[in-house]
């Protein structure tokens, strides 16, 4: 670390280093927090190495051969529309765009977020002001230079309700709600949410500042969410359509594009960073039948299948020369109950349902044991701030008593809405229904096609909703359990919880934050708003000729280092 870097470093860094020295935090947590606070990844690795007396060389990938340049990687994945990255709702769309567009930060397959288009960042001690120093010398594929105007433009459009981007919810700390004075069809006040004036400030051509309404820890992580790819400052002027105007800072250009069929990305000249090894990537659309992708892999039509489902593991193992990749994630699905709809208004009913659960059994039955045990509070063991709570045991007697106290001595009939895909969700719901029967909770399954489920996911009183991986536990809690946020599907409204969450979200010290998480996790568990069967691993499969590919916990494709033997 140079002298000037040391001068600029976040005041918390020395304390963090001290904690690592005393082994209060592990190396991984140190790297994560240090990079989060603006220390570049090599510098953070070097610091960790110095403190722990290890080599300063970053962890090397296990390499069997020297990387070779060239070749076309063929991957089976849905080829969807790619109009506006800010409106992406599928990882697949962002995977194609990720070849052409880049992000301010990047979260690696190790769940550590590092600077990317932003060279470094600094957060104020109260975590309300974030300064981003942008990388210089980055060129757009049309020759323009990447600068602060691009970043300002992106934030402005994300937080404009007319654009329709889910980033509006992601950067809630930069948004102000105003009463439009109009009433909606149901007679409720229409509240408009848009960017707080002055929330983003251009300091100079390569510096931007974010001014947040409240402390926010996960700003860098949020900047590597799939809809936060940085588009050109003239994106809207040029028709706001990425597939028609594929201008990006990334290493690939769009060579061929037929929605629903095939997309080809080709390595482009003049990329600012290290050139990728592949000449091109071809995405082939095999429709919604997961078996089709494996057939294509088995017959050599593709080198890789984007997603392999847990039900397919046996088939994959039987295909010669195919490697199965597994990533432990914070992906899950929760049987969530709306606290303002009967019978779930009564906490005892919800608690009775949770008392029936046998988590090890659920993991085994619904996901072949490949994942981690859940504790019904939506914070995963791989989250850095996870606090381990005592194991909750199945207790039918308690469940029956709670039900009887709530006035359902003869048991209760409820209907859960769930979607057909991915299939493990149905298996999990069937297992939950079976496991709850002895206590008198009779759960009827209402299986819907995915799209139909996504129409009612936040409306139904009892539903089984899939949640993707997020790098930090506080991110999920902020998105789903804070009062009044758009994705609060349980309608959970607990001011004390919100306050505790505010505190956790503004606590940098991982140990301190973990202590706060104990309370949050216990509150959620005790209020019993979600029954969470498991944390699941995700899988993908490649031919063994595909080298240095690492499955990302959110299945984001990072192909710059991948090569073909």
């Amino acid at each position: 670390m140079s002298k000037s870097d040391r001068e600029k470093q976040h005041p918390y860094i020395p304390e963090l280093a001290e904690q690592l020295r005393k082994q209060q935090i592990d190396r991984r947590e140190f790297l994560r927090t240090a990079t989060l606070l603006g220390v570049s990844a090599p510098a953070a690795y070097a610091m960790a190495g110095k403190i722990m007396g290890q080599s300063i060389v970053p962890e090397a990938r296990a390499q069997t051969a020297t990387p070779k340049k060239g070749g076309n990687l063929r991957c089976s994945m849905r080829c969807q529309e790619m109009t506006d990255p800010a409106k992406f709702d599928w990882t697949e769309k962002s995977n194609v765009a990720r070849g052409m567009l880049e992000y301010m930060a990047i979260t690696g397959s190790d769940n550590i977020t590092r600077p990317f288009l932003a060279e470094r960042w600094e957060a104020s001690t109260d975590l309300k002001t974030w300064t981003f120093k942008l990388r210089q010398g980055v060129k757009w594929s049309n020759g323009d230079e990447f600068n602060a105007d691009d970043v300002v433009h992106n934030f402005t459009r994300w937080l404009d309700p007319k654009v329709g981007s889910s980033n509006l919810g992601l950067f809630d700390s930069m948004v102000t709600a105003t009463d439009t004075g109009k009433l909606d069809a149901k007679g409720a006040k229409m509240i408009s949410k848009s960017m707080t004036p002055g929330a983003i400030e251009k300091v100079d051509a390569h510096t931007v500042k974010l001014h947040l309404n409240r402390a926010e820890l996960a700003v860098p992580e949020n900047l590597y969410n799939y809809p936060t790819a940085i588009v050109h400052r003239k994106f809207d002027e040029m028709g706001a359509n990425l597939s028609k105007n594929p201008i990006g800072t990334g290493p690939f250009s769009l060579k061929e594009y037929t929605v629903g069929q095939k997309i080809v990305l080709a390595r482009r000249q003049g990329y600012w960073g290290d050139e990728p090894l592949l000449d091109s990537i071809t995405y082939v659309d095999h429709g919604d039948d997961p078996a089709a992708g494996l057939s294509a892999l088995a017959s050599g039509q593709v080198d890789m299948v984007h997603e392999t489902f847990v039900e397919q593991l046996d088939v994959v193992k039987k295909i010669p020369n195919v490697v199965l990749h597994e990533a432990i994630t914070a992906q899950t699905a929760v049987a969530r109950m709306q606290v303002d709809k009967k019978p779930f208004t009564d906490k005892r009913v919800r608690q009775a349902l949770l008392a029936c659960l046998d988590h090890p059994k659920l993991l085994e039955v619904a996901y072949r044991g490949r994942g981690a045990l859940a504790e019904d509070h939506h914070v995963a063991p791989i989250h850095p701030e996870y606090f381990k709570l005592p194991v909750v045991k199945q207790d039918y007697a308690l469940a029956k008593k709670l039900l009887a106290d709530a006035g359902y001595a003869n048991g209760i009939d409820v209907k859960i809405d769930l979607k057909r895909e991915p299939p493990w969700e149905l298996a999990a719901c069937q297992a939950i229904a079976e496991i709850c029967k002895p206590a008198g909770i009779r759960i009827q399954l209402n299986v819907l096609p995915s799209t139909q489920y996504w129409e009612i996911w936040d409306k139904t009183d009892f539903g089984f909703t899939g949640w993707t991986h997020r790098p930090l536990g506080v991110m999920v809690l902020n998105l789903a359990y804070r009062s009044g946020v758009p994705w609060n599907e349980t309608h959970y409204d607990n001011p004390a919880f919100n306050k505790a969450l505010d505190a956790a979200g503004s606590t940098l010290d991982a140990n301190e934050r973990r202590k706060l998480m104990e309370g949050l996790e216990k509150t959620l568990q005790n209020d019993a708003i979600i029954a969470q069967p498991l944390w699941r691993s995700i899988f993908s499969s490649t031919h063994e000729r595909v080298k240095d590919y690492k499955l990302h916990p959110t299945n984001y494709h990072q192909m710059n280092k991948v090569w073909l033997a």
Binding site: P161, Q261, G287, A292, S299, E455
Partner: protein, 310 residues
């Protein structure tokens, strides 16, 4: 005759208009759900209201219907939600792909099932007849989704002879056609062969065939000249019906082999609530059904001298 054709065409138009009203009612009666389908689940109410306003969804229902119908008549089916391109750009190439698949199936299935049916029907109860009948019944009773899995397990995973999917992503390939065509032919040929066999067997028992044989004509000549013509009327009708079946019956096979055809598109559009694409697919299906029926009716009156109009 002219009056008959005009009447049929009028009826055809009326059917299509009725269906179009139904389709529009089913799909677009509630603007709120349209906005949600178009913008996706992760948007808030305000964003949806803005979209509805921009796209004229606050106009009266009949105005929206007429404007929709007007666009439809001129070939403007609106944008596909899933593909984010005009529906026509997705629909026509995929319909053509299904045409190719259906054509290939007919090209294989018709000669195969007719010749097997005729062979079986020539000598009712012979060993050949029994074998063909059993084979036909067995393959017809295995649905396409099962035979597709079986074919893939054998020729893709075990023997490794054929490609597992038929996306034609590197241009049209004959070897990618083999499995989907095989799955459909396996399912369909037994049915047509059995029809042909029954018809042939019936003809073979008629007095004029007996006379022809008795007067000493060579056997092959009796079959080709006398029996075949009459025996083929029934199978011909059955084959005509298969064309309609092929338009919808290919859904399973197209989906399984990732063949980019009309059936798979219809399924994908329905599963993903791509309303404008569903509307277009529904109208195309109705158009094909009504048109083939009209053509069949008109054609039949020309061909069959026993049907005449006043």
């Amino acid at each position: 005759m002219l009056i008959f054709i005009t009447r049929r065409l009028g009826l055809m138009a009326l059917t299509m208009i009725t269906v179009s009203v139904l389709v529009f009612l089913l799909m677009e009666i509630s603007p709120g759900t349209v906005a949600q389908k178009v913008l996706g689940p992760y948007t808030n109410d305000e964003q949806r209201q803005l979209w509805l306003e921009q796209n004229g969804y606050f106009r009266p229902f009949y105005v929206r219907y007429l404007s929709w119908l007007g666009h439809f008549m001129t070939g403007d089916f609106g944008p596909s939600i899933r593909f984010k391109v005009p529906v026509a750009e997705v629909l026509w190439p995929r319909l053509a792909n299904t045409g190719i698949l259906a054509g290939s199936v007919l090209a294989v299935m018709v000669p195969l099932s007719l010749s097997l049916g005729v062979l079986a029907g020539m000598r009712e109860g012979s060993k050949l007849d029994r074998s063909i009948t059993v084979a036909g019944v067995v393959t017809t009773s295995v649905p396409e989704f099962a035979s597709a899995v079986f074919l893939t397990a054998t020729f893709v995973f075990w023997l490794g002879w054929l490609p597992g999917t038929s996306t034609m992503s590197e241009g049209w390939r004959l070897n990618q056609m083999v499995l989907p065509v095989a799955a459909l032919v396996l399912y369909d040929f037994g049915y047509v062969a059995r029809m042909t066999r029954a018809s042939m067997a019936e003809v073979m028992t008629t007095p004029y065939i007996r006379t022809a044989i008795l007067k000493g004509l060579p056997y092959w000549r009796v079959i080709l000249r006398h029996a075949l013509r009459n025996a083929l009327i029934a199978p011909f009708t059955v084959i005509m019906l298969q064309i309609n079946w092929l338009l919808s019956g290919v859904i399973v096979v197209e989906f399984f082999f990732a063949y980019k055809g009309f059936g798979a598109t219809l399924l994908e559009a329905s599963l993903n609530q791509d309303i404008y694409l569903i509307e277009a697919c529904a109208m195309v299906s109705v158009f094909v059904a009504v048109t083939t029926q009209t053509i069949a009716d008109v054609g039949y009156t020309f061909l069959n001298p026993r049907i005449r109009f006043q």
